[in-house]
């Protein structure tokens, strides 16, 4: 274990960071991860840090957030502190399999979990080296470096993250809670790479909680590939609660086989710049994908979601609801791409994006993109950007509820439509509570956490 860090400045070439430290990036990684680096670097060079000029990044310019002196961590830095003790952020009554990830790395003092036979929840770096046969056939198969610069950047620099393997037929009752911590003594850039495989007929729920523990500027480029095999059920919840000096780049790539079901539900409460790339490939018939997002933003926050649901075969369903509540100067973006391929008959694809602007200065840009190459499909989409419903507001007030409370009730009703889709009771209640606190302008960091990061 080394504690070496490299300094990275945006004025340098990010690609150069890799090319001049190849040995450092390659050390400890298996051959197949290293073999992917150079082509990824070339792809990254070709596409560059995303700006609005790139079709898929029309609503977000990432130049500025990259333009800072960050430290990067090509090797694991053992934290001297006991994060397990410092960080007790589990949602009350949420009994979980808890895993900590620090600056993209699997925390070396994670407790041993009591898991069903054959289940692996461990460091990606470790499993990739020890059992490459489990990882190699999946690695980078969904995150295509030639299609997205953040995927390319991640693949170029990827060292560690979380690996989850659930054998066929295994049901993990307890949610797997992954606390992604950013914690350092200087401004930092973290790369995290996760790979989840849910075997046939298996079931699991994963909760990501993204946190910042120190007040430095952070940029995290987090990429997760999820393989959901036949008839499996897999839920991924992501609570994004980093402070507003951070940039959270989060990509999730999902592939689904026959009759599988997925939920990807992202709640963005804090974070200076948040970009969510969500891609689902429906590869087996009768698969169902559910993508939900709720974002609350104020001050100068920018929150942008890009979804891409690819109906590759017939008889699948996809369902997307994304909602944003923007206050003050906050800005938001939503792009929802649905591709129904030629043979994907009987597709049922639904998408809705609803936005409420609380302040005159808030801005939202939204765009559905439907590409439908089959003829027998049901596709619907809709986007609205509006103010709070004045008629409903008056109705509530006319019954004796004051303006502030009435507004709050309407906002909670608006957000609850997404939150109610969370299939973990304690988490759902917690999130309703966090959202209400956020709307009330009260603290909204998890109060068990001693770091008041946001």
């Amino acid at each position: 274990m080394t504690t070496e860090t490299k300094k990275y400045s945006a004025t340098e070439d990010l690609a150069g960071l890799y090319t001049s430290n190849i040995a450092l990036f390659e050390s400890g990684s298996p051959e197949f991860m290293n073999a992917a680096r150079k082509p990824a670097m070339e792809e990254f060079l070709r596409q560059g840090i995303p700006t609005r000029k790139q079709e898929n990044y029309k609503y977000s310019d990432l130049q500025e957030i990259f333009n800072r002196d960050y430290h990067v961590y090509p090797s694991y830095v053992a934290r001297e502190m006991q994060l397990n003790q410092v960080f007790k952020c589990d949602v009350p009554e949420l009994d979980t399999n808890l895993v900590l990830i620090v600056n993209g790395w699997y925390y070396h003092q994670n407790k041993e979990l009591n898991l069903p036979e054959g289940v692996i929840i461990d460091s990606l770096s470790k499993i990739a080296s020890e059992k490459p046969e489990l990882v190699e056939k999946y690695y980078s198969k969904l995150a295509k470096t030639n299609e997205d610069p953040l995927a390319a950047l991640n693949t170029m620099l990827a060292k560690d993250g979380l690996f989850i393997y659930i054998p066929d037929g295994v049901v993990i009752e307890k949610p797997i809670q992954v606390i992604n911590l950013l914690h350092s003594k200087e401004d930092s850039f973290a790369t995290q790479r996760n790979l989840f495989v849910a075997g046939k007929n298996s079931q699991a729920k994963v909760v990501f909680c993204d946190h910042t523990l120190t007040s430095h500027h952070f940029l995290s480029n987090n990429l997760t590939e999820v393989f959901i095999e036949e008839n499996a059920n897999f839920d991924l919840y992501n609570l994004q609660n980093q402070h507003n000096q951070s940039g959270n780049l989060c990509s999730v790539f999902v592939s689904q086989e026959r009759s599988s079901t997925s939920v990807v539900n992202t709640a963005s409460l804090h974070g200076g710049l948040v970009r969510n790339n969500l891609k689902v490939e429906l590869k087996g018939e009768y698969a169902e994908a559910n993508l939900f997002g709720i974002a609350l933003a104020d001050s100068d926050q920018h929150i942008d979601s890009f979804t891409y649901v690819d109906h590759m075969v017939a008889n699948c369903r996809s369902n997307q609801i994304f909602k944003n509540v923007l206050d003050e100067q906050a800005t938001g973006g939503f792009t929802g791409r649905i591709h129904v391929q030629r043979d994907a008959q009987q597709t049922n694809a639904f998408q809705r994006n609803s936005n409420v602007l609380i302040h005159d200065d808030a801005r939202m840009r939204t765009k559905p993109q439907l590409v439908i190459d089959a003829d027998d499909v049901k596709c619907s989409h809709g986007a609205t950007v509006g103010r709070i419903d004045e008629e409903a507001l008056f109705y509530l007030k006319s019954r004796g509820i004051n303006d502030k409370e009435a507004r709050l009730m309407l906002m909670l009703a608006f957000t609850h439509e997404v939150i109610q889709e969370i299939r973990i009771d304690a988490l759902r209640e917690r999130l309703d509570d966090l959202v209400e606190k956020r709307f009330r302008g009260e603290i909204s960091h998890c109060h068990n956490c001693m770091y008041h990061c946001c």
Binding site: A392, L396, R399, I401, E405, L410, E417
Partner: protein, 251 residues
Amino acid sequence: MLKIKDLHVKIDGKEILKGINLEIKPGEVHAIMGPNGSGKSTLANVLAGREDYEVTKGKVSFGGEDIFEMAPDERAKNGLFLSFQYPVEIPGVSMVNFMKTAVNEHRKHKGLKPFTAGEFLKFMREKKELVQLNSDLANRSVNEGFSGGEKKRAEIFQMAMLEPKLSILDETDSGLDIDALKTVATGVNALKTTENSTIVVTHYQRLLDYIVPDYVHVLYKGRIVKSAGKELALELEEKGYDWIKKENGDS
């Protein structure tokens, strides 16, 4: 209870109410009738505190206080209730939660302790029975997907919950079937005391058979052009509004 003096109201620069005078004393029931578009709902909404209306002239006092100095929720807490002609649907806000919040705001205003969950449910059960509100409706989002008649019944349920001093029922009878009309009227009468007052806006004499008014007023083109006892409603039912229009220089 309520005193309206020379009230003028504009919407989008157009004068809708052109000098309304009306006084309502405790215990009285007043019916307001009049052709479509004459300003009945406008009057009701202005009293309840709707913001997009511009009061250009006149005074309204409610319980001795200037009503225009009170926010809509304060008016409600001081005992004003409007049963809307077109109740709005509010997806995601449960009727139970909505009423619990409203009732407890009223209790706070009166210096009472908020209801506990148990107390509230008991209170609500009583009121639901009073207006024979289907239990299912109370468990749904406010008015969402309610039929026309169900919405009206839900309004009266809310009135029962909030026990107002002055209720304004804006066409609560429209959309109700005969049986529902009777239940609603029975509910309204059951809540009636010698202290509280009611304004009934309606097009039909029928409701007034059940809720018997002390006075009937005809609102026409933003003015009250005729006031009399309950027999006026019968006369209107029989003859329509033509003679009123003629008397006021239109045909």
